[in-house]
Symmetry: C2
Subunit: 115 residues, 2 copies
Amino acid sequence: MEEEDFDKELNRLFEEIMDVFKAIADPTRRSIIDLVAVSPININAIAENFVMSRPAVSKHIKVLLDSGLVGVEQQGRDRFLFLQLKALQEVQFWLKKYEYFWNTKLDRLDDYLKK
Amino acid sequence: MEEEDFDKELNRLFEEIMDVFKAIADPTRRSIIDLVAVSPININAIAENFVMSRPAVSKHIKVLLDSGLVGVEQQGRDRFLFLQLKALQEVQFWLKKYEYFWNTKLDRLDDYLKK
DNA sequence: TATATTTGTAACCAAATTGTTACATAAATA
DNA sequence: TATTTATGTAACAATTTGGTTACAAATATA
């Protein structure tokens, strides 16, 4: 792979991680994630679960698709959405950074102030 | 505890979880989290790490404080921020819901379409 | 005490987000 | 073939977000 391509790929990946955090920021989208996690489901069936209009739900789904959190499989005129775990793992990886602090339970502020 | 109080407490907790997701949605705020994770740090020192103005950083910090992701300890005119892991764990708990899907590796869409 | 430092906040602006209704299109069905 | 169904999208409005500059207040320091 060309170095330039590599940089682009890295950037694309970085952008994707950004989008995942934005995507899960909205409670409606987290509910949609819950729905598609149970079983693949088409877009109208998802929209039935919300008070808002279908186009509004459709927009949320677009965000989820862009983030890579859900995938889509066209079946005639239906589009079935399914959960894509890979994107969710990005969040898990991000959390791993802070695992160290979970393990070492010292009160870091206290420690610092004693100096 | 009164049932009404319990409901309020539950709601408060629910709101807090919401805020945590909103808080980590912004890349600047995730950078701030990284800074305070290393060691308690005062607000000006945080702002030095960014191109944007101090009040802009201050606003981000307000969001982080409201979300419970960081705590603050006043020391004279300085305010030292520190990471509060409890709020980050809310995200970890949320992710746990989907752990099942990590373990059972079956392609659920494929499964569904066969029916 | 006068000055410098750390911080908060108000007033403002531009852009993004989140919703709406109206309409278009393609596929399935009567 | 005519109609229903599933979906996308454009145009719009309200709200939120993320930034700015200007100013105030409290604490530390010369």
